[in-house]
């Protein structure tokens, strides 16, 4: 049972992990994107639709990434170029994504696709406990194992990452050195949206293997919170994402085990957990926030 929960944690946490990585990229540059939930939604539908049309889930992942990137591009235009309030823009895009996926998604409900199937890693997959928990999953789970350290490396060890973080910490320093803050934030927001789109695609073409309206169910918002108490660090965020995956998988594992619990009492667990962790750790982790982002978080006012 423990192995089942842990294995479910890795599987269920993967979509949140991708979204959290994307959100950390965008927030490190000083842009908070509540539209991550929307990017996951369009990513889920985009991934599903492209997979249905092409029969190839890998192309589907690209479709999901493109959909998430496009939606986040609108966010970038609104907040970076037009100076709109970041929270209002993000929520509007979430709402827009709800409508768009409902409009374009009806044809894909209950349509069969050639989804990702679990691939057991040779040798490692046969290990006791570790094998089923980590190495008997769909390919996107393995890609995520690499993606988290890769995003960390790009953010903290490359020139591009340095520029991106400078945009989030002291954007005037970028200007002094002749870089465009606007361009950096555009790239960060769009890349972040693409990652969230991959997270959504994981939900529809590897996790649930189906498309239905509102299937993201708040995972994008959890990812936004996760980035705060993951202190904008991709490695910590990965750990947090799997923790929430555990909370999510608890429900299905208990039900499969024949325990009679009201499903919604379990569905609420990840959200309560997020709020409790924010309440306990929030004050401390906010010290690690990028300065320009803190301005957004502290004074969210705009008219």
């Amino acid at each position: 049972m423990i192995v089942e929960i842990l294995s479910g944690a890795v599987r269920g946490g993967t979509s949140i992990l991708y979204a959290g990585l994307g959100e950390s990229v965008s927030e490190r540059s000083g842009v908070i994107n509540l539209g991550t939930e929307g990017a996951m939604l369009v990513g889920a539908l985009g991934g599903y639709a492209v997979t249905a049309q092409t029969g190839n889930p890998w192309i589907g992942v690209l479709g999901g990434a493109a959909a998430g990137a496009l939606l986040s591009l609108v966010h970038a235009v609104l907040v970076v170029s037009r100076g709109a309030n970041q929270f209002a823009s993000g929520l509007t895009l979430f709402f827009l994504a709800l409508g768009l996926t409902s409009l374009f998604g009806t044809g894909y409900v209950s349509r069969q696709i050639n989804a990702f199937t679990p691939v057991k890693v040779p040798v490692l997959g046969d290990l006791p406990v570790v094998g089923p928990v980590l190495f008997q999953h769909d390919p996107l789970v393995y890609v995520a194992f690499v993606a988290a350290p890769l995003v960390w490396w790009v953010l903290f060890r490359t020139r591009a990452g340095l520029l991106l973080r400078t945009a989030g910490e002291r954007s005037d320093a970028l200007v002094v050195h002749g870089y465009s803050v606007t361009r950096v934030r555009y790239v960060a927001t769009v890349v972040g949206g693409a990652l969230a789109g991959v997270g959504g695609a994981h939900l529809s073409i590897a996790y649930a293997n189906s498309w239905f309206e509102g299937m993201v169910a708040g995972r994008g918002f959890i990812a936004v919170a996760l980035v705060i108490f993951g202190m904008w660090n991709p490695i910590t965020i990965a750990g947090g994402a799997y923790l929430f995956g555990a909370a999510l998988s608890l429900a299905s594992v208990l039900q499969a085990g024949g325990v009679a619990v009201n499903q919604f009492a379990l569905d609420v667990v990840p959200f309560v957990l997020t709020l409790v962790v924010l309440a306990v750790l929030g004050k401390r982790t906010l010290l690690a926030a990028p300065d320009e982002l803190l301005k957004v978080l502290d004074n969210s006012t705009s008219r």
Binding site: T92, F95, L100, G218, V268, A279
Partner: protein, 361 residues
């Protein structure tokens, strides 16, 4: 449709014809609305076309099926009532510089509280029930917003993030209740709570299908307008919203101001839940109040957080929402597709009509 909006705006304009500055602002608002609406309609038409339906048919449907039908116009008023209340729940905290995205959850919890009171007091006189339900709903909404307010004030976690998460908690609490302890054993198919007794429903205005909740929300908008623009409390809100640090230095109780703004907002959203419950739906169901809180958020931003324009914004969005139903019947598009239209309009308003801030901020 644009004709209706412009007559509505005309009324708003003449009411606000107090000085030139204000008139100019209102005229700018009217132009913004027209352009945003037009842009939204065009892009939405393109999406409809891409989905294989004819935009012309869709707009004809909306016109003949909704906007020119007296019964549908009454529906629009009924739909707008909770929108106005939940919109005020965004307006007040926004004046103090906060983003309340939790209208959805505060509204649901308000309705849950009202339903709980209705179930607990089945034998009590209806007079008591009629008072106890809105009080409980407002208190529950305020408490729900209070969680986010406390987290903002004590641990400095941004209220936009917490109120969003609380929306899902509220939804699951309601679902838990109606699929568990509150489930109506007589309900067929979809699980619901037990229906509200006739005597406790909001009375209708004579000869119409419009309930008194419409008047309640109109009254609330006027009270909030007065409180924001004519009282020292309203002044304190805007000082804190303008520059919290300066307010703190002049000795203003910033924490108290922030707390009360969110609590009052939550109470209004809770009241919106009561109006939706006792005025329209009469029972809790899995889709109760679906996305009313989010639409109200859009309405408040469209109105730039001002109570009187909020009335117009709520009416316009309610009209779009109601026409979603005729869209489903007429063109076979899902009712939620009109969310696209609402979202597009707000994108246009946020991006191209605001008093622009510095792009780098």
């Amino acid at each position: 449709m644009s004709e209706q909006v412009s007559t509505g705006l005309g009324a708003g304009l003449s009411a606000a014809l107090l000085d030139g500055e204000r008139w100019r602002r209102n005229r700018a608002l009217a132009v913004r609305w027209a352009l945003a609406l037009l842009g939204g309609l065009i892009v939405f038409g393109a999406f409809v076309l891409a989905n294989g339906a004819s935009p012309l048919d869709v707009y004809t449907d909306i016109w003949t099926g909704t906007l020119t039908q007296p019964s549908q116009v009454q529906q629009i008023l009924v739909r707008a009532a909770p929108l106005v209340l939940a919109g005020l729940a965004v307006v007040i905290p926004a004046r103090a510089g906060m983003v309340n995205v939790g209208g959805e959850g505060q509204l649901i919890i308000g309705a849950v509280a009202a339903a709980g009171v209705a179930q607990a007091l089945t034998t009590a006189p209806t007079g008591l029930l009629v008072i106890a339900m809105p009080v409980a709903a407002a208190a529950a909404g305020a408490a729900w917003a209070g969680i986010a307010a406390l987290m903002r004030v004590v641990v400095n976690v941004n209220e936009a993030v917490t109120t969003l998460l609380l929306n899902y908690v509220a939804l699951y609490v309601m679902l838990f209740l109606i699929l568990g302890p509150w489930k109506d054993p007589a309900a067929l198919g979809q699980s619901t709570s037990v229906g509200l007794a006739d005597g406790a429903k909001l009375p209708l205005l004579a000869g119409t299908a419009v309930h008194v909740g419409v008047l309640v929300s109109l009254g609330a908008a006027i009270v909030v307008w007065f409180a924001l623009s004519r009282t020292s409390w309203g002044f304190r809100l805007s000082v804190v919203g303008g520059n919290a640090e300066a307010a703190r230095r002049t000795g203003m109780p910033v924490v108290v101001v922030l707390l009360t703004a969110l609590l009052i907002g939550g109470a209004l959203a809770g009241l919106a839940g009561f109006v939706q419950y006792a005025g329209s739906e009469y029972k809790l169901r899995p889709t109760f109040g679906l996305s009313l809180g989010y639409v109200a958020f859009l309405a408040s931003w469209l109105a730039r957080h001002r109570p009187v324009p909020l009335l117009l914004a709520s009416l316009a969005l309610a009209a779009i929402a109601v026409s979603g139903n005729s869209l489903q019947i007429g063109s076979g598009l899902p009712a939620a597709s009109v969310n696209v239209l609402m979202g597009l309009i707000l994108v246009a308003v946020l991006g191209w009509t605001g008093a622009r801030k510095a792009a780098q901020s």
